[in-house]
């Protein structure tokens, strides 16, 4: 316990450092600003702002990125409530009842309920992260290459389970991502692989360019598909504070949502989305008045908001302790760490304690700022929704281009950006989600490295993955997940969920 307090003390001393505090604030502000803009979710927001944070210290840049993340998440719920346009998939559930509340002139209480539930859930989840991450990292320190390999396989398989759309396509996207991740020099022999003779590719495809192409450029193209129906009618937001009755009604949903979200968020593969859906379903089931759900029930806003924020927070646990991304946002964070020269994995707790605890403390501060910032500024965010898209997307493209060039002064990275923008759009159009591809891209080199090392240790015997108990357990878990996903009734249910959501 005293360890925890000492660690949190260290964390807060880092997070409260003036520079970090300022960047945390800017992160939250920028994240909300861009997250509010319709059609740009947290992944695209982080991908676009990643270059801006690269010149900062590792801890500061991660603190800012984390701020951007929950800012964008919150911005997404704001648009979900006000204009029924979820900025990201996990706030799609919020839109169901939130938008109905807004139509009944109760947008204020809906927004306040979302902010309060998010803050509460964020506080609990941050505490859980501080409690459970270090022991998990201690266990992970005993992992050898076979365990890491199996763990990544489990992560990739779970990513498939929670990806949108057809399962086979999601698996194909992961494998394709793994292959793209291998482009560049081979670590062991120094040979060039898949560089097509371009010496600029010796260090591999630029991660930021790939991510911005897949999520930024492709998303702009997607939005240009139906440009005409973008005129939005926005109601004036009045009477922000929820009534005493409202508050009483959301206590239970928030507690249940937080619990569900915290547990599901740790799962690799995008727990926040699942958490929001599960929380909504649970509330509808335990409610004495299930008929008001879908017609503006404040419980239907509070529970999923608490769940997705808790999930967003606890998804940092596998990222910080194991170096395994639970969702595309965490994949971007890992990419940021690698660019900063920090090797993600269980060593981060011991080798960079100020980074580790600083991020955790800043999460709570970020959530606090989010609440203080958003409730008074709601009028400003509403006005932002009226910015015409013709101003928006040239700004995004210009920022992305400058940011990517600034990273390495390498023109080739911009060609990568264009290529992956086109490829990303093509694949999305064909019903393939880009998120698994990005996960594969990040994990490709690590997966190969651990496979090689494991087989060197075992003298070429692949049974090593099944003989070591932890590794075998992880592989069995992966097989179970795959079996569940392919089971006919689960597959049908899964298709239903994602159709409803889309």
């Amino acid at each position: 316990m005293s360890d925890l307090l000492a660690n949190l003390g260290l964390g807060f001393s880092v997070a409260l450092h003036t520079g970090n505090l300022v960047f945390c604030f800017f992160g939250v502000l920028l994240g909300t600003l861009i997250g509010v803009l319709p059609g740009i979710g947290p992944t695209a927001t982080i991908a676009l702002l990643l270059p801006v944070t690269m010149s900062l210290e590792p801890a500061t840049s991660l603190i800012m990125l984390a701020g951007i993340y929950y800012g964008a998440q919150y911005g997404g719920s704001t648009t979900a409530i006000l204009i029924n346009l979820p900025g990201e998939s996990s706030s799609a559930v919020t839109a169901i009842d939130g938008y109905q509340m807004a139509r009944q002139g109760r947008a204020g209480p809906a927004l306040a309920a979302a902010a309060l539930s998010s803050f509460f859930a964020g506080t609990v989840a941050t505490l859980l992260l501080a409690l459970f991450a270090p022991p998990l990292a201690a266990v992970a320190l005993r992992f050898g290459p076979p365990e890491y390999f199996s763990l990544m396989v489990l992560g990739l398989v779970s990513a498939v389970a929670l990806a949108h759309g057809p399962i086979l396509k999601a698996i194909a996207m992961i494998v394709l991502g793994l292959l793209f991740g291998l482009v560049g020099s081979d670590l062991y022999s120094g040979m060039q692989r898949f560089t097509l003779g371009f010496y600029e590719l010796a260090e591999g495809l630029n991660f930021v360019a790939v991510a911005v192409g897949l999520f930024g450029i492709a998303e702009i193209l997607r939005n240009l598909e139906n440009e005409q129906n973008r005129d939005l009618v926005i109601r004036k937001v009045t009477g922000l504070m929820p009534t005493r009755e409202d508050l009483k009604r959301i206590v239970g949903p928030v507690l249940r949502g937080t619990t569900l979200g915290s547990v599901l968020g740790v799962l690799p593969g995008g727990g926040a989305i699942l958490a929001a859906f599960a929380a909504y379903t649970v509330e509808k089931r335990v409610s004495r008045t299930p008929e008001i759900f879908g017609k503006g029930a404040i419980e239907g806003v509070a529970a999923p908001e608490a769940a997705n924020n808790a999930g967003a927070q606890t998804s940092f646990i596998p990222m910080l302790t194991l170096g395994i991304p639970a969702n595309p946002v965490m994949a971007l964070m890992i990419g940021a760490l690698i660019i900063q020269g920090v090797v993600p994995g269980p060593n981060v707790v011991t080798s960079n304690p100020e980074l580790f605890w600083g991020i955790i403390a800043s999460m709570w501060l970020g959530n606090l700022m989010l609440m203080l910032l958003n409730l008074p500024l709601i009028g400003l965010w509403v006005r932002l929704l009226t910015v015409p898209y013709a101003v928006l997307f040239p700004s995004i493209v210009a920022f992305a281009a400058i940011g990517i060039y600034a990273l390495g002064s390498n023109s080739f990275d911009l060609y990568t950006l264009a290529l992956f923008g086109g490829l990303g759009y093509l694949l999305v159009r064909l019903g393939c989600e880009p998120a698994p591809l990005l996960l594969g891209f990040i994990l490709g080199p690590m997966l190969e490295d651990h496979l090689r090392r494991a087989l060197i240790i075992s003298r070429g015997d692949p049974m090593v993955f099944f003989e070591r108990p932890i590794s075998a357990g992880l592989l069995i878990a992966a097989a179970v997940v795959l079996a569940i996903v392919f089971a006919p009734n689960v597959a049908r249910k899964r298709a239903e969920i994602f159709t409803e959501e889309g």
Partner: protein, 157 residues
């Protein structure tokens, strides 16, 4: 059935890319053995897997609902994809300010409903903003005007 057409095209892309990666791994890279893996071992494994999954995507109906999508934004594609390439090719020679102006002026026309007046105003405004933010604010080490701009480069470069 448009959904099946999507599956066919997606599957074909996976098979094609799998074959391309596999061919280089097989012909150009040492494969090695499980004990001493060569640089081609893991990619070959993945490429074979990608071809197999690609074939499965082609032949096994996914049964998932088709996501509705609007008409293909040809104009957006024609404008947005070359824009970063042009930026990349000209930034060294033109310098930061002209390259930003160029990329904004190009990308704004990805939208169908913009006037020339709007495009010019946005270009001026956004270029000024980016120069202020990235050059003067964040101090990016990119020359404001490059060698291609002649006298401007000597004045501001």
């Amino acid at each position: 059935m448009p959904e099946r057409r999507n599956d066919l095209v997606a599957g074909a892309i996976f098979v094609g890319l799998g074959l391309a990666f596999g061919a280089e791994a097989w012909f150009a890279l040492p494969i090695g053995s499980a004990l001493r893996m060569g640089p081609g071992f893991f990619p070959l494994l993945l490429a074979v897997l990608l071809v197999l999954i690609g074939l499965a995507v082609v032949f096994v109906p996914s049964g998932a609902a088709e996501t509705p999508s609007g008409p293909i934004p040809w104009r957006g594609l024609a404008v947005l994809l070359p824009a970063p390439v042009i930026f990349g090719a000209t930034i060294r020679g033109l310098g930061l300010a002209p390259a930003i102006a160029l990329i904004v002026l190009i990308t704004v026309f990805a939208s169908r409903n913009v006037s020339l007046r709007f495009a010019v105003l946005l270009t001026i405004g956004l270029t000024a903003f980016c120069v202020a933010l990235f050059h003067f604010g964040l101090g990016l080490p990119i020359r404001l005007f490059g060698p291609w701009t002649g006298p401007l480069a000597r004045l501001f470069g």
